[in-house]
């Protein structure tokens, strides 16, 4: 592999990992916020346990979203300084707004939510998770706006060999953004709904003690996934009309992009048929259908697989351009980058992030298996077991 292939591989590995984790972050955040609101409204312990159990899974998943996101942000300067040199005056704006106006707030409020159990006033604590959700979706908007600029560079003209921003509003009304943002958000809700459905099916199948807890969660997951699937598929096809204007022949020129598109549609359509004609109509009885539960568990990873295929289709189909028809990937690479530098950083990032991703998924699986009775997030009582013992003996 030459240095360009290595740098592209580094971006693809970290980008795919990032997408796998943030798609679940986006999907679960509003669901946890809804559960927390129900708890605040009713005060029922069932809703508190649901908020803490699904919230803990959300939070464990969140860790890898941060780790991979850090590498993504700094990688532009490391390997692709040609991009900031040529288009930084335009492309940098949505990224700067994302970090300051969205992620800065998201991270701060997430800290307040995680560590604010039993400390913050009830409704302010609920407000934290809604602000986390809101800022996470604002992040998605700005990142997709930046990505859509690469697909279809609007709102900028070239002056003196560099792009200059002429119309910021055009970045937000970009045809490459209008239909793809709801497509991605739908896919995130779909993934979040499926994780909830699959984990609940596991507990119902094992006949654990929390029958009421997981009956409700399974139904909630199926309903959210059904809504997500409608949005995803609808806005997926809606992209084709506009795509013909700015990237005609996207999927015929690059076989890998065409394959990604085909497999994504295969997974998406099959699951949508299943959701619309079986799972959703039977949602009331589904928690009692023991034979169906292993199937529901097995289906859980499929939205994630479809998301990766969709990402391949969108990104590979733009080759050899980094900014469509303006800047090639080769020209965007940092001048002076050597194979030795990228090989070393690629091994470091892929090794550390790959290992931590496996650990993270194992920890999520363990948190699901142990169930709602042993959740660390928001656990009440003193930290020190020595202090807890006398309390228990009373």
């Amino acid at each position: 592999m030459d240095v360009l292939d290595l740098a592209r591989t580094q971006f693809a590995v970290t980008g795919s990992l990032h997408f796998l984790f943030v798609v679940l972050t986006l999907g679960l955040a509003p669901l946890v916020a809804i559960m927390h609101t129900r708890y605040a409204l009713t005060g029922r312990p069932l809703h508190e346990r649901r908020t803490r159990f699904w919230g803990q899974i959300y939070v464990i998943n969140y860790a890898l979203g941060i780790f991979t996101g850090l590498v993504m942000e700094f990688q532009f300067g490391l390997s692709w300084s040609g991009l900031s040199h040529y288009a930084g005056d335009v492309f940098g704006a949505p990224l700067a707004i994302e970090t300051l106006g969205a992620f800065f707030l998201e991270s701060t409020f997430l800290g307040l939510w995680i560590f604010g159990w039993h400390r913050l006033p009830k409704w302010l604590h609920v407000a934290c998770i809604w602000l986390v959700t809101l800022t996470a979706y604002a992040s998605a908007l700005w990142i997709m706006a930046a990505n859509s600029f690469l697909q279809n560079p609007v709102g900028a003209v070239e002056r003196g060999g560099r792009l200059v921003l002429t119309d910021f509003g055009a970045l937000l009304t970009n045809p490459a953004l209008a239909m793809s943002l709801p497509h991605v958000i739908g896919a995130a809700l779909w993934a979040g709904g499926f994780v909830m459905m699959g984990a609940s099916a596991y507990h119902l199948f094992r006949r654990t003690a929390d029958r009421e807890f997981f009956t409700g969660s399974l139904r909630f997951g199926v309903i959210v996934a059904s809504v997500g699937s409608l949005v995803t598929v609808g806005f997926g096809y809606a992209q084709f009309g506009m795509l013909g204007q700015y990237q005609p022949g996207k999927f015929s020129a690059e076989p890998l992009a065409g394959m990604g598109l085909g497999l994504m549609i295969l997974i998406g359509q099959t699951l949508q048929l299943l959701l619309a004609f079986v799972l959703l109509p039977a949602v009331y009885w589904l928690p009692r259908w023991r034979w169906a539960q292993p199937l529901l568990m097995a289906m859980t990873p499929l939205p994630f697989l479809a998301a990766i295929f969709g990402w391949l289709a969108r990104e590979v189909g733009r080759q050899p351009w980094l900014i469509n028809k303006r800047l090639t990937v080769a020209d965007a690479m940092s001048p002076g980058l050597t194979p030795g530098m990228v090989t070393a950083s690629l091994i470091g990032f892929a090794g550390v992030l790959g290992l931590l991703a496996v650990v993270d998924y194992l920890l999520i699986a363990r948190a699901v298996r142990r169930g709602p009775s042993s959740v660390a997030l928001g656990a009440p009582g003193p930290a020190d077991p020595a202090e807890r013992a006398p309390a228990l003996s009373l």
Binding site: F74, S81, S84, I97, T99, L100, T108, G111, L363
Partner: protein
């Protein structure tokens, strides 16, 4: 307008050192102050509610660099390639230690991730010292060298002092065996932020030459400035909610 964004960039960088400095410092001191697992739990629990609100300042630094000083972003990050890579890997390892240490029972699991917190914090402090030395030297020499290592040790010492002061403030008579006032914490924050402030001042002319055009900076100002009260408010709220009177020891910590 470019002066305004230079100020924002400098404030974010200095704020990162003043805030994240004590997290990194406590990570460095973890093997010293936390000889027993209970003490390590207390130290991590003391800094845990602040970490997410502190480390995000550096994410904001990189964002502002890209948005408002795009030509500097590519030059600086590429010029510091090996250091940026070690900085990111150290950051990730430190954060992984925090997020994962309590996710399984068993002392070996927790002790292993506590070492990850120490190693990551040490890597962060050394990478920062070397990076600041290389930036001060105009990115001309090799990124890794003996003067850089000296600067790394200096930054590590400043962070450790700040971390020790924070622990004495949040956990009076706790693992450090002493107590410090909020005023002392302010002083140690200034010590931790001094290297960043010096380098920010030295590089200001170089950065201004690389500012984005007025049109881009205008858009950034119009969109970001309305959010600043919320950003400041959220940061202040963290300190009000998790200050020393919040009985840091009474609740089990998530980290």
């Amino acid at each position: 307008m470019d002066i305004l964004w230079l100020g924002v960039l400098a404030l974010l960088l200095i704020g990162y050192f003043a805030l994240e400095g004590f997290d990194i410092g406590l990570g460095l001191l973890l093997p010293v102050l936390g000889r027993t697992s209970r003490d390590r739990d207390r130290i991590v629990a003391a800094m845990a509610p602040f970490v997410l609100a502190n480390e995000v300042w550096l994410v904001a630094v990189a964002g502002v660099l890209f948005g408002a000083f795009p030509a500097a972003e590519g030059e600086a990050l590429f010029g510091l390639y090996p250091l940026v890579v070690t900085l990111l890997l150290s950051w990730i390892v430190r954060d992984a230690g925090l997020w994962f240490r309590r996710r399984l029972d068993g002392s070996a699991w927790r002790a292993a991730w506590d070492w990850a917190i120490f190693a990551g914090s040490a890597g962060l402090a050394l990478s920062w010292g070397m990076a600041l030395a290389a930036i001060a030297g105009g990115l001309s020499g090799p990124a890794v060298g003996l003067p850089g290592l000296g600067a790394g040790l200096l930054v590590a010492a400043a962070f450790a002092f700040h971390g020790w002061t924070f622990a004495s403030w949040r956990l009076p008579d706790g693992p450090t065996g002493s107590r410090r006032t909020g005023r002392a914490l302010l002083v140690s924050a200034c010590v931790a932020a001094a290297p960043a402030a010096a380098v920010a001042a030295a590089t200001a002319p170089w950065l201004l030459e690389r500012a984005a055009p007025a049109g881009t900076l205008g858009v950034l100002s119009v969109i970001i400035l309305p959010f600043t009260p919320l950003m400041v408010g959220a940061q202040v709220w963290v300190w009000r909610a998790f200050g020393p009177r919040s009985a840091a020891d009474r609740m089990p910590s998530f980290f």
